[in-house]
């Protein structure tokens, strides 16, 4: 996963993205484009979590949307019904999503691959059906984000807040990927038997990675509740779980920055086909198939495709010896 992390220090890409965000935020007058930017940022946070879980640790999850849903429902319930502040309700809901994620991780210890994918899918569907059965109306009127008296609900400010979360998550995950823990989850993915022989406690590592991914999904769900204002299970269906997985795959497995690129791409792809409104989803399905067939490494691998000839020339004799 951290296949030969490039020589560029880890903080470069988050800073570049941060500047782009500020540039974009204050040149946009249209709510709509701001909203799209905000939505892609919200999904990016969950996508980074999923790329650590799936790209780095090799644990497939098709139920991430359920975790987003838990945090969003929690936030809506605590703010609308209980009148708690957006920040406090966020902390509680994210904790709830994390706990559920840990339980999911713990219960999935004995199974891998397809079976893990299907258990997480079942979890996601369970959440959707429960939401539809118990709370079909969900909530509306979730108050916008405000820290103390500072109202961050205005689209421009909220856009920046969301992308601050994205950049922070990006920096943290890039550092984590390089740390001892990052290496252990890569080892877990590549060869669990050898990883265990090297002293990696497989069970604890798997559950921890599930926890991290769920916490990030929780942050994403919290932000989504405030972004959307009205929360029902339709926003957290299995389609969202698949979209997150596709963002990670298209972005390049295991690369946090790739996940961000995947999120922006997926929210944006339907926009590019805007004039053919009804062909939008059809083209989006085809785009998915093409990227999988032609670019297995995802967007991030475009670099490797270009870099390969460069590296061989630079490496000179040693490479071909």
């Amino acid at each position: 996963m951290s296949r030969f992390l490039p020589k560029i220090p880890p903080w470069v890409s988050p800073v570049v993205i941060g500047l782009l965000v500020l540039l974009f935020a204050f040149t946009q007058d249209s709510f709509y484009r701001l909203q799209l930017g905000t939505l892609s940022g919200i999904y990016a946070v969950a996508a980074i979590g999923l790329t650590l879980l799936f790209g780095a640790a090799g644990q497939i999850s098709l139920g991430q949307a359920g975790l987003l849903g838990i945090a969003a429902f929690g936030t809506a319930y605590l703010t609308v019904d209980r009148g708690l502040g957006p920040v406090l309700s966020g902390v509680v809901s994210i904790a709830a999503a994390t706990v559920v994620g840990l339980l999911l991780g713990w219960s999935a210890l004995r199974i891998t691959g397809h079976y893990l994918a299907l258990v997480t899918l079942a979890f996601g569907l369970c959440f959707t059906e429960l939401g539809r059965t118990v709370l079909p109306e969900g909530w509306y009127g979730v108050p916008p984000l405000a820290i103390g008296s500072l109202d961050l609900g205005d689209p421009q400010r909220f856009f920046v807040v969301v992308w601050v979360f994205v950049v922070l998550t990006l920096v943290a995950s890039s550092l984590l990927v390089r740390s001892r823990f990052g290496r252990s989850i890569a080892a877990l993915r590549d060869d669990p038997v050898a990883a265990s022989a090297c002293g990696v406690n497989l069970a604890r590592t798997k559950v921890a990675v599930f926890g991290i991914a769920s916490a990030l999904a929780g942050v994403s769900g919290w932000l989504f509740a405030m972004y959307q204002g009205s929360v029902t299970e339709t926003s957290f269906s299995f389609t969202l779980s698949f979209n997150l997985l596709i963002m990670v795959v298209i972005g390049g497995l295991g690369s946090p920055t790739g996940a961000v690129a995947g999120a922006v791409f997926l929210v944006l792809a339907p926009e590019l086909g805007r004039s053919y409104e009804q062909y939008r989803l059809l083209s989006y399905g085809l785009i998915l198939i093409l990227v999988l067939a032609l670019l297995p490494g995802g967007l991030a691998s475009i670099g490797r495709l270009i870099a390969k000839p460069l590296r061989r020339r630079r490496a000179g004799v040693e490479e071909t010896a």
Binding site: L175, R180, F181, A187, A197, G199
Partner: protein, 259 residues
């Protein structure tokens, strides 16, 4: 048994369905010495190693580490207790660089969790630096100098075996179990590897348990020998005694006299 065994197997037995792969085997690994477990293919050598390193659980019998009963512990617990192993078919981490593979080897004895690792606390940074230095040093020791950034899958088999050795040494182990390290290597490469193991064994005062069926090479390296056939011990002693032993020759029917 002259000195106290570091790792000892007492009455190790392992059955798969009707077949008894290993039955009632005693084996000792002594610090600074190479103990060889010899036997034809299917004699239960790999199963024995798996039982001694937690990859598999013996049906009965006990595994003692410096006298303490550690039967049935997980491989990562064995690693933290200083018992490491290589694999018959090398198992590199393909997604990590050669240096990173070695650094993972030290996972058992390092502590930086994901919080400290991410926040890059001073302790975590110091540990990373130490790990990096140790990796470079170990790679040099095993003859893979300067290949830290290479991809493990690009290395030839002999170098992959050396990488696995370096990865084991990163755990600063007391006991090293080698599962057919010479398999698939040419004559010269096997001899170079044997010399390396001897040197590391002396230098780090390691107890080494060697599993091999490459007779001449193994006997050359070993201080003590245990010969297995169909899971049972049929002979035990020094290499010289084993060479002369009638039962061993029968188990190795047709083995070349001494080419």
């Amino acid at each position: 048994m002259t000195t106290e065994a570091v790792l000892a197997g007492r009455g190790i037995t392992r059955r798969f369905g009707g077949v008894t792969a290993v039955s009632d085997v005693d084996v000792d690994v002594v610090a600074g010495e190479v103990t060889l477990v010899l036997g034809p293919n299917g004699a239960g050598k790999s199963t024995l190693v798996n039982c001694l390193t937690g990859v598999d659980r013996p049906d009965d019998g006990r595994v003692l580490l410096a006298g303490e009963d550690v039967t049935g512990r997980r491989p990562d617990q064995f690693n933290r207790m200083g018992v490491v192993r290589t694999f018959q078919h090398t198992r590199p981490f393909a997604g990590l660089s050669v240096a990173e593979n070695v650094m993972v080897g030290a996972h058992g004895r390092t502590r930086a969790g994901f919080v400290r690792g991410t926040l890059r606390t001073r302790a975590a940074r110091r540990e990373e630096a130490a790990l990096q230095a140790q990796a470079d040093d170990l790679l040099a020791q095993v003859g893979l100098e300067g290949r830290g950034d290479a991809r493990p899958t690009d290395l030839p088999l002999a170098d992959e075996r050396r990488l696995e050795l370096a990865r084991c040494l990163a755990a600063q182990p007391r006991v090293l179990l080698l599962d057919e390290p010479a398999a698939g290597l040419g004559e010269a490469e096997a001899d170079a590897l044997a010399a390396l193991v001897r040197r590391l064994c002396a230098e780090f005062d390691l107890g080494v348990l060697l599993i091999e069926h490459h007779l001449e090479l193994a006997l050359g390296m070993a201080d003590q020998v245990v010969v297995l056939d169909f899971g049972k011990v049929i002979a035990r002693g020094t290499p010289a005694q084993i060479r002369a032993d009638e039962a061993v020759r029968k188990a190795y029917v047709g083995v070349e006299e001494g080419t």
